[in-house]
Amino acid sequence: MDWTALGVSLRLGVATLIVLLPIGLWLGHLLATRSFPGKALIEALITVPLVLPPTVLGFYLLVTFGARSPLGQAFASIAGHALPFSFAGLLLASAIANLPFVVQPIQRAFEAIPSGVRDAAACCGLSPWQRFFQIDLPLAWPGVLTAAMLAFAHTLGEFGVVLMVGGNLPGETRTLSIAIYDRMQAFDDRGAGVMAATLLVVAVGTLMLTTTLAGRTTRRG
């Protein structure tokens, strides 16, 4: 059992949520509450990371942020190391790959809030920010939870993008799902099975705990 890889996976899962949830909340809220020309296009474009085969997406990300791209060079000159083949690069890739899972459910959840409730919040003198945190977010909570669960689970399982961008470096970018894949490629079904089972237990346990805890504090009644 490759505990280091499990650690990388969990760190990546949590970090992806930390990066992605604010973006998802912002974008989901925007798409739910405003209407503007080209909105349908943006909504469709957000699903692009899902449409591309992960390895292909990973390749394009590698090219975009790699050593040979201006973007990649800019990052490297600031951070001191290249984006790909680092945890930061992994995180970026993971965030992009998981964007669709996060935005859509959050958008739907915001859309489902009755307009009367929003109006009432404004008439209570709550500013847009206060409204967001005190009213919209708690009411959209189940949708946010779904987004978080899907993104977290998918981050644990993703390996196409992550392998391409991360490069499978032990302790840094080798996630458990890559390790499992490696074991399987080496015909070590037993080792792969043990790791897969561990991953499942950890994931299912985390998700169960989350739904139970989150469900308990946010039941609408």
Partner: protein, 365 residues
């Protein structure tokens, strides 16, 4: 400057037709009264900034909230309105207390919870502060909505049928709370209601709305003594509304006399003190006219006056007779038969008989 009233002018052809303009001074209560679908809620929403008619002016104090010509539209949360929504629009995820707390953001953090509980007590919701809306009855929800609207210490209070779901005794108490509040905050209040009791007990002015247009408006006494408003008669029955001062109280007999600028009006003394200002509604249906002063009646008020108007109600056998009694005008609804029997014509002297207990009375201050 600060004494500029709330000034509202709304106009559009559709989809919701509107053509209204009115003012409401600080401390005044304007009752908007009109058939279902006439645009009452829409007016409140436009004042709060939740709805933007094609042509809108909303000013309060020295602030302009809406002015379509000038392109001004202050967003709702920057308008200091307290609005009771017709359907309450409570926050479903917050407790009753949480709902009220949400509107207390302008108060120092330390006092908010105490203030919320105080407000809940004012609407008689003590002990229910921890319940979510879905565990409250309809009337309880409505009271939370009222407490929330008040909580904001608004510069304009907008009440959209705020008492429909509560029983009459609670309604009376809520009316008193709103009345006290309006006096304390000294803000304009706009009250939408289908219940005339609310109008009489709370409002200083009335606006009659039909299909988005103003049919009549003015101080309540002026509008109420008009005999030519058919919808109003169907809706509430006619009747004079008179503001008067308590001249004397006879505790032994349990009676008080009111000064209405002429003969005194005798009413039950309960709760009255000399000098108090009271609002009195004398329903037209309950006024009896007599050509000679009768004797041996359980009745206390035999008021000598003069017939000033005789208005035959179209399509009925009833007649509205306006009688000037001292400085006041009363209305009496009598049968055409009685009019001819007693020869009631304009200028004829007449006695208006009013039972003391039939008078709707409430203390204004």
């Amino acid at each position: 400057m600060a004494d500029t009233p709330l000034r509202v002018g709304l106009r559009q052809a559709g989809p919701i037709p509107l053509d209204v303009a009115f003012d409401c001074a600080r401390g005044d209560v304007l009752a908007i009264f009109g058939p279902s679908g006439s645009g009452k809620s829409t007016i409140l929403r436009a004042i709060a900034g939740l709805y933007a008619p094609a042509d809108a002016i909303v000013r309060t104090g020295d602030r302009t909230w809406s002015d379509t010509a000038a392109g001004v539209h202050v967003p709702p949360h920057q308008r200091a309105v307290g609005l009771v929504f017709q359907d309450y629009a409570l926050f479903p995820h917050l407790t009753a207390r949480g709902n009220v707390l949400a509107a207390l953001g302008h108060r120092p953090k330390a006092e908010r919870v105490a203030r919320a509980d105080e407000l809940l007590a004012q609407v008689h919701m003590d002990g229910l502060g921890d319940r979510r809306p879905d565990a409250l009855s309809g009337g309880e929800r409505q009271r939370v909505a009222l407490a929330r609207a008040i909580a904001r210490d608004p510069a304009v209070l907008l009440l959209d049928e705020p008492f429909t779901a509560v029983d009459r005794p609670v309604r009376r108490r809520l009316q008193d709370e709103v009345d006290a509040l309006r006096r304390r905050l000294d803000v304009p209040v706009i009250l939408v209601t289908h219940d005339f009791d609310d109008v009489v007990r709370l409002s200083t002015h009335v606006l009659l709305l039909e299909r988005g247009r103003v049919m009549a408006s003015g101080p309540i006494a002026d509008v109420m003594r008009r005999a030519d408003l058919p919808w109003l008669r169907d809706a509430v029955g006619l009747g004079a509304v008179v503001d008067a001062r308590v001249a004397g109280v006879d505790l032994e007999r349990g009676l008080a006399t009111l000064d209405i600028g002429g003969p005194a009006l005798v009413v039950p003394a309960a709760g009255l003190t000399p000098g108090a200002l009271v609002r009195v509604r004398v329903p037209a249906r309950e006024v009896i006219l007599a050509t000679q002063a009768p004797a041996g009646l359980s009745l206390h008020n035999v008021l000598a006056g003069v017939v000033t108007e005789v208005h035959y109600l179209p399509g009925t056998s009833q007649v509205i007779v306006q009688v000037r009694v001292g400085a006041t005008h009363l209305l009496a609804e009598v049968t055409g038969d009685a009019v001819s029997r007693l020869a009631l014509t304009v200028g004829a002297p007449v006695h208006a008989l009013v039972k003391s207990v039939s008078i709707d009375l409430h203390v204004v201050s």
